[in-house]
């Protein structure tokens, strides 16, 4: 078609003009995509998935698969009902599914993740407008809902060896196992934890680090979670600011609250702190978009986590802290709006 253009008869020129796409710049886009980002998160979670099956057995795998399947199912169904395009191919429901399962004890009944995903996807995500519009982290909101509705199921933790039917998490041991008034707590969850915790011993730090200790199925292996987190940071899917500010301020606040220094490593390495800081607090939709805001958000969550763990009725404080901070995001963003280049001082 080389010479045709110049010598083309008028009609063909008109045809060319109709074919030319006219739009506003830029005319190229990076190859980043929502799918790619979500896929990266799934890749990052994979070591921890494998670890959870290794430590907690086949029931963990069952819960994870049920959770993923039901999340995708609810997403598709509700979008169909709302007459919206079905977007399960953006993989975000898979992540929600994995994270819900990660927050369950390995002994949880099969229907628990279904309840959790129904709540997470239908109420928290889709009622508020779907991907990107949920102001709370769906998986964490689901965890909070499940904990309120089925406290026993949610806090009966099994050990990592098959012969141990029920065990106390290190946080529960620290909270109740060593305090005389542990059984006086008001909630069922803490009562369960407390009765398990009585007389139990803390696992070694090494076992905590690799994940060989009681807890929710996805939260125990710090090593595997950190491998995934490193991948996400290298791929620039998540910003280091939230997790670093979060963990740093939890540490600082625990010290301020007078927690003995020998217990501090247990606080960092057990419970949902690492999972929460790297995988839940960094949820795009429910965390600030501003750079400074992310630091403020992380610090806020850290302070709350430490306070709940030390002074609250629950042994664990990660989910509530993040959920509380989720609500403050619009405010944080307002206060931390970046200063534009060349701002006249």
């Amino acid at each position: 078609m080389d010479s045709r253009v110049a010598s083309a008869p008028r009609a063909e020129e008109v045809a060319l003009e109709n074919m030319l796409l006219v739009s506003s710049s830029p005319h190229i886009r990076s190859n980043e995509s929502v799918q790619r980002i979500m896929l990266d998160v799934i890749i990052a979670l994979t070591p921890a998935i494998i670890g959870s099956v290794y430590f907690f057995g086949i029931n963990a795998l069952k819960l994870i698969l049920i959770s993923i399947a039901s999340s995708m199912f609810f997403e598709a169904i509700i979008q169909k009902l709302f007459g919206k395009p079905i977007t399960i191919d953006d993989f975000s429901a898979i992540i929600t599914g994995i994270l819900i399962a990660f927050n369950l004890p390995a002994s949880a009944p099969w229907w628990l993740p279904i309840m959790g995903s129904a709540f997470a996807i239908i109420v928290v995500k889709q009622f508020f407008g779907g991907l990107g519009s949920n102001f709370m982290n769906p998986a964490l909101a689901a965890r909070a809902m499940l904990l309120t509705s089925w406290p026993i199921h949610m806090s009966t933790f099994t050990g990592t060896r098959p012969d141990v039917m029920s065990a106390a998490t290190p946080l529960a041991i620290m909270k109740f196992g060593m305090s005389a008034d542990g059984t006086a707590s008001a909630t069922v969850e803490s009562a369960t934890s407390a009765s398990q915790a009585a007389g139990a011993e803390l696992p070694t730090l090494w076992n905590l680090f690799i994940g060989n200790n009681p807890g929710a199925i996805g939260e125990t292996s710090i090593l595997l979670l950190l491998i995934g987190a490193a991948y996400l940071i290298i791929r620039q899917v998540i910003d280091w600011k939230i997790p670093v500010a979060y963990i740093g301020s939890t540490l600082a606040m625990l010290m301020i609250l007078g927690v003995e220094s020998q217990f501090i490593p247990y606080h960092i390495l057990s419970g949902g702190l690492i999972l929460g800081a790297f995988y839940m607090a960094t949820d795009y939709a429910s965390s600030p978009v501003t750079s400074k805001g992310r630091i403020v958000f992380g610090i806020g969550a850290g302070i709350l986590t430490a306070i709940i763990r030390v002074n609250g009725g629950y042994p664990e404080g990660v989910s509530y802290s993040i959920l509380l901070m989720n609500i403050t995001v619009p405010l944080i963003e307002k206060l931390t709006a970046p200063k534009k280049f060349g701002e006249v001082k």
């Binding site: 080389d2 796409l21 005319h27 929502v34 992310r294 280049f341």
Partner: protein, 444 residues
């Protein structure tokens, strides 16, 4: 001057695609048989035609002029006969008066074109007059008349002239080739500007992906104590004027301000070379180097093209379109280029490149909802919040967009480029800017 870390906060890594033309010598384009020379191809007042249909004109003869200070004359790029003066579309998207000249193929030069003598013999005032008479405007985009830039008000103390050799737009290599092939002219042009503005420090900033250009310029400036060549990190939009000043001088041009507010004057490579030629040879700006490139054109080239040549002629000289029909044709690069309705538009002084994209490349990518990843904020070189600006713009809430500094957006497109959801960020911010400016003009 900052010597290390010559880069800025924000910005994006873009694959530069310069390989298509970066090693191709600049060649003259074939002479056009007909040119359409726009009377308003710069920022400022339009020119009035000083010729009429039937007139004979020569190369370099003034054909349009304005009495306004902020304006630049236009010259004929061929010798021949003026056919008509008509309104037509030019690649900026505007429809303006154009002088249509049929070439006689002889390229007879106008008598007024003669060398101006050595730089030592010319005063700053004379230099500025030469630059003004030569019709030189910023050839990197905005087309601001050069003599205006070089005549800052007395209270603005200028201490440095920066030459912008970043050429950070992907695909374009016109400036790159000029630096490699005509480094002496660039250095001479810089010396002209330094003398005209009365400054004894000149810096040429070049992105490090053009090592041959850096080497050539260093060689050409080895005897010049006051001129330094500074390598810059490759990052888009490194060549944005305000980024360049920040990177090289460590000074932030205040919001709404001009480079002269921080003591700098910036000129681009093509402009600097045109200035050198205006002083050395008395040559007005009637031709320029254009990179014709992209996957949609058969033989990408760097050509010296006469102002007024239709895009169509030049594309034909590059072998025409590749198989399949072209998807998009741009004046400029893919990040900030202007998309064209037709290839009948003429080259203007600001045409640094013609990019032909294939249908496949031009296909818009599917939109997804914003996932609030914050990447648009991370890449904005002005530290704006593109996601919110764009949300307000799309809702028609232009006051809120203004409060978030929409007018500071330099329209670099980094935000839209990076967005994983392919949101139309700069596209909508641009709309907000237009509305805000329209409203301001109304109330004033």
């Amino acid at each position: 001057m900052k010597l290390k870390d010559l880069t800025f906060r924000g910005g994006v890594a873009v694959s530069d695609n310069k390989g298509l033309t970066k090693d191709l010598l600049i060649e003259p384009a074939e002479d056009p048989s007909m040119v359409m020379i726009a009377l308003h191809q710069h920022t400022g007042a339009p020119c009035e035609a000083v010729v009429q249909a039937g007139d004979e004109v020569k190369v370099g003869q003034v054909i349009g002029q304005s009495q306004a200070f902020v304006s630049a004359p236009v010259h004929s790029s061929v010798s021949g006969t003026v056919k008509e003066i008509v309104s037509m579309a030019i690649p900026t998207g505007l429809t303006v008066e154009c002088v249509v000249i049929e070439s006689d193929g002889k390229n007879t030069m106008d008598e007024s074109i003669k060398p101006n003598g050595g730089l030592e013999d010319l005063s700053p005032e004379e230099l500025i007059e030469i630059i003004k008479e030569a019709g030189i405007t910023g050839m990197g985009g905005a087309g601001f008349p050069a003599h205006v830039k070089f005549s800052p008000p007395a209270e603005k103390k200028i201490d440095t002239i920066l030459i912008n050799g970043a050429e950070c737009e992907p695909y374009l290599t016109a400036d790159h080739r000029l630096m490699v092939e005509e480094p002496d002219k660039i250095v001479f042009g810089l010396k002209v500007i330094m003398k005209a503005v009365g400054v004894d420090k000149g810096v040429i900033g070049v992105e490090v992906n053009k090592p041959d250009a850096i080497k050539a310029l260093k060689e050409a400036s080895r005897d010049e104590e006051n001129i330094s060549i500074v390598p810059l990190k490759v990052k888009y939009p490194q060549g944005d004027e305000k980024r360049l000043i920040d990177v090289i001088l460590g000074r932030q041009v205040p919001s709404g301000g001009l480079p002269m507010d921080v003591g700098a004057v910036v000129s681009n490579i093509s402009t600097t070379r045109a200035i050198a030629e205006a002083v050395m040879d008395g040559k007005p700006l009637y031709e320029r180097v254009v990179t014709i490139t992209g996957q949609g054109v058969k033989n990408p080239r760097n050509l010296v093209v006469k102002v007024g040549t239709p895009f169509k002629d030049i594309i034909e000289q590059c072998g025409g379109f590749n198989e399949g029909s072209p998807g998009k044709i741009l004046m400029g690069g893919p990040m900030m280029g202007i998309s064209q309705y037709s290839i009948d538009v003429p080259v203007i002084k600001g045409t640094g490149g013609i990019l032909v994209m294939t249908e496949e490349e031009a296909k818009p990518e599917p939109l997804q909802p914003c996932i609030r990843c914050g990447k648009c904020l991370e890449v904005c070189p002005v530290y704006l919040q593109p996601i919110y600006l764009s949300n307000y713009a799309l809702k028609g809430d232009f006051d809120k967009a203004e409060a978030l500094h929409a007018l500071d957006c330099v329209e670099c497109g980094a935000c839209s480029y990076q967005c994983p959801s392919k949101r139309p960020l700069v596209e909508s911010i641009r709309l907000a800017k237009r509305e805000i400016i329209a409203k301001r003009n109304k109330t004033n």
